[in-house]
Symmetry: C2
Subunit: 464 residues, 2 copies
Amino acid sequence: MNASPSSAATGRPRVVIVGCGFGGIEAVRAIARIDAEITLIDRTNHHLFQPLLYQVATAGLTAPSISGPIRHILRREMRTGRLTVLLGEVTGIDAAQRDVIVAAPDASGREERIAYDHLIVAAGATHSYFGHDEWAVHAPGLKTLADAFDIRRRVLLAFERAERESDLAERQAWLTFAVVGAGPTGVEMAGMLAEIAQHTLQDEYRRIDSRRARVLLVEGGPRVLGAFTEPMSRKALEQLDELGVEVLTGARVNRIDASGLGFDAPDASQGLTNIAARTVVWAAGVAASPLGKALAASAGCTLDRAGRVVVEPDLSLPGHPEIQVIGDLAAAHSHPKRGAPKPVPGVSPAAKQMGRTAAANLVRRLRGEPTRPFRYVDYGALATIGRRAAIASVDVPLLNRQVHFSGMPAWLFWLFVHIYFLIGFRNRLVVLSDWAWAYFSFERQARVVAEPRPAFKGSADPAA
Amino acid sequence: MNASPSSAATGRPRVVIVGCGFGGIEAVRAIARIDAEITLIDRTNHHLFQPLLYQVATAGLTAPSISGPIRHILRREMRTGRLTVLLGEVTGIDAAQRDVIVAAPDASGREERIAYDHLIVAAGATHSYFGHDEWAVHAPGLKTLADAFDIRRRVLLAFERAERESDLAERQAWLTFAVVGAGPTGVEMAGMLAEIAQHTLQDEYRRIDSRRARVLLVEGGPRVLGAFTEPMSRKALEQLDELGVEVLTGARVNRIDASGLGFDAPDASQGLTNIAARTVVWAAGVAASPLGKALAASAGCTLDRAGRVVVEPDLSLPGHPEIQVIGDLAAAHSHPKRGAPKPVPGVSPAAKQMGRTAAANLVRRLRGEPTRPFRYVDYGALATIGRRAAIASVDVPLLNRQVHFSGMPAWLFWLFVHIYFLIGFRNRLVVLSDWAWAYFSFERQARVVAEPRPAFKGSADPAA
């Protein structure tokens, strides 16, 4: 079954876009302006503002504040009558036939084929456990709303579990939270977990003292937020310390199971090599979507070590100018006016810029014009740590240099930037008022767990 | 293991309260004022404002707006140092030993026993499928937040599924929504589903017209909202009709499966006995919590046909003055100053009043005073149907009679009452602003589905 309108039928070029993250949505918006028949396919019904996902995982925000139904966000584009949005899972790409293969919505096994003249693949990335997929059940990562709810449930129920536990060692294991990986997500998670234990839950338990909870941030590399400069990284460490997070650097995890985690600690002075922790969050590894492999098999492109698709300067595939790969799935380079090409980092501004470049190059191809190489405009980097704690390195073109700052100013700047880039006027208002409330009251509004039972029943794994 | 402090240790009477619904929470608040050691046990970490649960199921409100963590709602009582809150599932009651039995939080099978001097059981009710438990997977009921998320997911994904479906009959089956039972919950659900199809999703699809969706309200009895007077019921029917809901009365369901539902239609003129509907919501039957049976086995009390515990006028069990049963689990009677005792309806004001009476009688017993019979103060009944549509029958003591009204005035009254009784100042503000936004924009803010896959994969049941 081929469900998309044929180009013969409409006379319009058929553009298929896979994935509605930051890259996909920018591409749709740009291409909707021209006379093309667009089909957007995503596995979920929503676009997600991933930079704030850790807030959902730590019960500070509700899911609808940081996500919106794709059909609603793209309602203007829908009204052109040229955009079709489909909820479905793309399982393969047939580059020879120029078909995208979508899994059947039921158990029938029938697959649906959607023909394209132009294809943009923006399928993003997922967690990587470095070959230890068995760790996944014990240490969920944070990529989707479902992940965020899973982590929220584990964190909140761990305190409940500790309150019911009479064995002191067991109780402390339930009050120990380990975050693996000290990149931006790991640092944010650890900072928030510390705030929950120190403030939010204070005085709410009878048998335990939530402030006795330990929050550990375990990093294999030599320092936290390794993408920043060393002095900034040190500032971040100081702020984590103030919030009550214990940071272990140079600690490579070699075991995660129901009882906790173990690691090699090259720095022998730290001593620790085993931690009894009932709640472990994985923020260490990222791997490109499996669609990369499907593309490599069908279109003969190369993948890098992280499984990302190596693209041409204009973001197309070698030998397949009709296929473009953008966002976290692309191993792309930025081609500045002067100097050598530089690898593009896996951040949301880069994904958005790739979405716009891919759309512009698609338009150029339709007009028979030559495409242009991708140029990444780097505005700097920003990481939040917790209440009044953040670090920022921002490019100031006027001064022609990067400015570094931390603490309260960086935190306010982070807050402003995230409110500004949130999609939807209403979401901005809601998040701003939620944050103001949380800041002054230390309360976290979304501390409700719909399904407490899975954590308690039917499994030998206490954290499942 | 007996985890509660002994009365010998603290010198205080030990009160155990099972369930933190409307009845349980009122009882805790009243008893926390006296010098007693209270243990509150609930299966979830939150108190739920159930009258607005249908709004979560229909994506109008987020879960945290209508629920709150028990520990936070009861923070003042926690600070007395005499209240312990435990997340756990009560599986039995040992009336001879005066122990409540709580399931182990892990898979160990060890149970925990909590001793009481006084016990208040407020475990509520669950769905009843009238002996057809196999219908549950196809037609979820609406009692918990997890139920609401399940229904929200099914409803929103049904439209997505219809958009992907090329077979016209299949597509219409995905666009057919049946609500079984025309009590307050069924009527609210049907009204909201009609609004979603007619307004919220309008113009958001390319291959389907959401306004073509059919919303059926299937009732076994002769009329909708049977607890109201016949003229009021007729008003409700008119308003349902205006909203686009098809009402089938006298239709007793005899089959629910993956393809839809079948029923006996005594009124042969209606013709229909089978409906292909991929989304069915169960709002027909309520059964008391299984704890009723456990109580009957242990304390030798009687259950009524709905499984509710028959209680004494003062809400205690015959022969067990130390055990009180309140809320939906109790088959209680109201004992007015004049006239014969009347059965108490299963509504939230009644549960709250029983909670306060149980607490007051417990205090009287501690003081050696005689207990008093329960007297239910009925303020009237209220049911909402949809936008500007509701019916109300309110007791006006000044006029010494019941006043009936419907439409916009009843709807505004309903709105005011529900905002007023919501717990927490912040929730009131949030719900009010959410409703104002939804009223004017026709948008529903919580249209995000975290886990779309279960509906699409791995099961022969298309609606699972």
